[in-house]
Amino acid sequence: MTDARWSGSAPVRRWSWTDPALRSAVIQITLAIALIWMAWSFFANAQENLARQGIASGFGFMENSAGFGITQTLIPYSESMSYGRVFLVGLLNTLLVAFLGIILATIIGFLMGVARLSNNVVIRALASAYVEVTRNLPPLFQILFWYLAVLSTMPNPRQSWAFGIKPFLDSLASGASAIGLTPLGAWLKGMADAAAAPGVFVSNRGLVVPRPIFEPDANIIFGILVASVIVAFFVARWARKRREATGQQFPTFWAGLAIIVLPALAAGLVLGAPVTIENPELRGFNFVGGIRVIPEFVSLLVALSIYTAGFIAEIVRAGILAVSKGQTEAAHSLGLRSGPTLRLIIIPQAMRVIVPPLTSQYLNLTKNSTLGVAVGYPDLVAVFAGTTLNQTGQAIEIIALTMAVYLTISIVTSTLMGWYNKRVALVER
């Protein structure tokens, strides 16, 4: 062998352990076979043991009727529906709290992160205190705090704090009349008189607000609204292109607002406002009618947002500090004020540093939402991996499915954030 190399003739490939490429290929193939065999034997062993112990297996149970009630359902649900439906209800509840939690945590986190760098001592100290307290207390403890400590101070439904929406509508009406929109003012005045009874209640059963009931004509208004949003989007794009080409400014925000609001408002007046309001009322033990936000949801959402926002604030602060001070000085010397400097120069550059760790906070928030089981929030883990598992006893199937769901949610979130990261990443030219 060695002679062949020295002499310069073409090396001959042979079966030999000294060939690194061949060796690594053999090792990898062996490892892959061993792994597949192991996975298969786990599966076969579980199947055999389940059969031998007389434990039912398979996903047939998903079609059986569930029989138990769920407090919060985003889609119609009743006890006679199937476990498959329970799965959907739980999944939607999980997605709802994760989605809203991510939005809230991002807003609070950005505000607090910027506030920690403020020149104002009081604001800076408050933001620091916020971060230190929220970041250093366990999330489960925070959820229980919001649920038990805050909930127990709320009155029972009979003594609930009631707020009317009449004063609010009244002030809107007089405002509209004052700026010359007399028909709108009169209509709002009528709405205010119709909503004389209190419509918003806060008690230990949650927050109850009036429910708007749309008549069929309302669909026209929705259609107009959707069309206006699309038009506003294209106007904004046109304005940006024109600014980039010619440098001419266009009042995009106010124009967009007018495009979205005015046609819908006009259509509403022409069609005679096809919306009525259903006021909740106390009947027996609980409120009937209206929209109710359950305290389990509120405490979980508030606790998760506040907890995660503490971490996001630190990520945002780190991101801003990572942008060199020369950028701020350059912006100031061009005559930009502090606000536009932060918005147009600093934050876009800071995003490159912020986005990757932000993704993992979003994933954490989603996974932490399973702690809602402690306060009875009907998320996927509570109703599916909890009650359904107990009623059917099919632990392997249910746990596997639940794990697959969380894996999917996490992978989708990180893919979306990866795509966004690519957009904001530094483009080297």
């Binding site: 112990q53 127990s152 509570a382 598992l389």
Partner: protein, 339 residues
């Protein structure tokens, strides 16, 4: 979090059960180990609850102690594993416990699809409701539209659904993972009623801030026969757990208790002689020594003693015997004959 983790581990345990669990003799394992692994609740006064010295007490606990007494002549050779309502069956299936004595309702689906067998009914219960006295309620049917707190992972969720639906009543069900959280939420006013098996309601009531403000409604909406369960496929162990329970009932029926056991051992009654092992080889037939009932009664007592000590009228719970009295005293507890 830890509960989820535990459940996943238990599920993963299913993969790993080798030849040892299925078909093997649990009794031999218990003897070799020198202790019985008994699954109990996470703390339910009267049934399975650690006292102020950390010793487990209660009806479900005493049943496990009786098995240990029959096998080892020592009621302390039991390792108690507290299990949540959700984890209990997986713990039994995976072999983490030998017997599940955890106020568990015997239902057909549990008996037939979970790979387990119920050994008997140590307590006949029914699902009830606890409410505030200030509501002035007389019956469950007045709870239309109420918010009801329940512990998830129990048969109670399904029963509420069935009963309220059948009676055209509206309700809101809030399910919590543990019984402590359920009680706290009820105490804070989140719910109008707390539902559970009636025996548990009496126990949970003791945990409330103002015990006297709350009452248990008289109606029950379901049958809840509570009993111990063992893994399917080991008939010797199944027989042993079944006959420990019957022996305690028979001892009470024949007037044998922990105080008079020594005199009774010298009795001439053929029934007593067979039960206490001086006649026949009944102990050997289930794999323990022939004086097994003497051991059980001496260390733990008969069924009546066990009931009175843990949940009866002289205990803090103060529950009347009712259905749990012997068959010849107006109840339904009936020990199969030893002969």
């Amino acid at each position: 979090m830890s509960r989820t983790l535990k459940r996943i581990l238990l599920a993963a345990g299913m993969f790993a059960i080798g030849a040892s669990a299925a078909g093997a003799a649990t009794l031999d394992d218990v003897k070799a180990r020198g202790a019985l692994n008994c699954g109990v609740s996470q703390g339910l006064p009267g049934f399975s609850n650690p006292d102020d010295k950390g010793n487990w007490t209660g009806l479900d606990v005493d049943y496990c102690r009786a098995i240990a007494a029959a096998i080892f002549n020592d009621p302390t050779k039991v390792k108690f594993t507290p299990l949540s309502a959700k984890d209990r069956f997986t713990a039994l299936q995976s072999g983490a416990v030998d017997v599940l004595s955890r106020n568990t309702t015997w239902t057909m689906s549990r008996d037939t699809t979970l790979g387990l067998n119920f050994s008997g009914v140590t307590y006949y219960d029914g699902q009830g409701f606890m409410v505030r006295k200030s509501l002035n309620l007389k019956s469950v049917n007045e709870l239309n539209g109420a918010s009801i707190c329940v512990q998830s992972g129990t048969t109670n969720e399904l029963n509420v659904g069935d009963y309220f639906r059948a009676n055209n009543l509206k309700y809101e069900l809030i399910a919590f993972a543990t019984s402590d959280e359920t009680v706290k939420a009820y105490d804070s006013g989140r719910c109008d009623a707390l539902t559970s098996d009636q025996s548990q309601l009496y126990a949970l009531r003791l945990k409330l801030t103002n015990v006297a403000d709350h009452m248990v409604l008289p109606n029950v909406i379901s049958k809840e026969p509570l009993g111990p369960a063992v893994r399917q496929g080991d008939d010797q162990w199944f027989d042993l757990t079944k006959w420990v329970y019957f022996a305690m009932l028979n001892a009470e029926e024949l007037g044998i208790n922990s105080k008079n056991i020594d005199q009774m051992a010298a009795s001439n009654s053929p029934e007593i002689k067979r039960l206490l092992g001086s006649d026949g080889k009944f102990g050997e037939s289930i794999g323990v020594s022939n004086d097994w009932v003497v051991r059980i009664v001496k260390h733990v007592g008969n069924y009546g003693e066990m009931f009175e000590k843990n949940v009866g009228t002289s205990s803090p719970l103060g529950i009347a015997r009712g259905l749990n009295n012997l068959w010849n005293k107006g109840g339904v507890q009936y020990g199969m004959p030893v002969r």
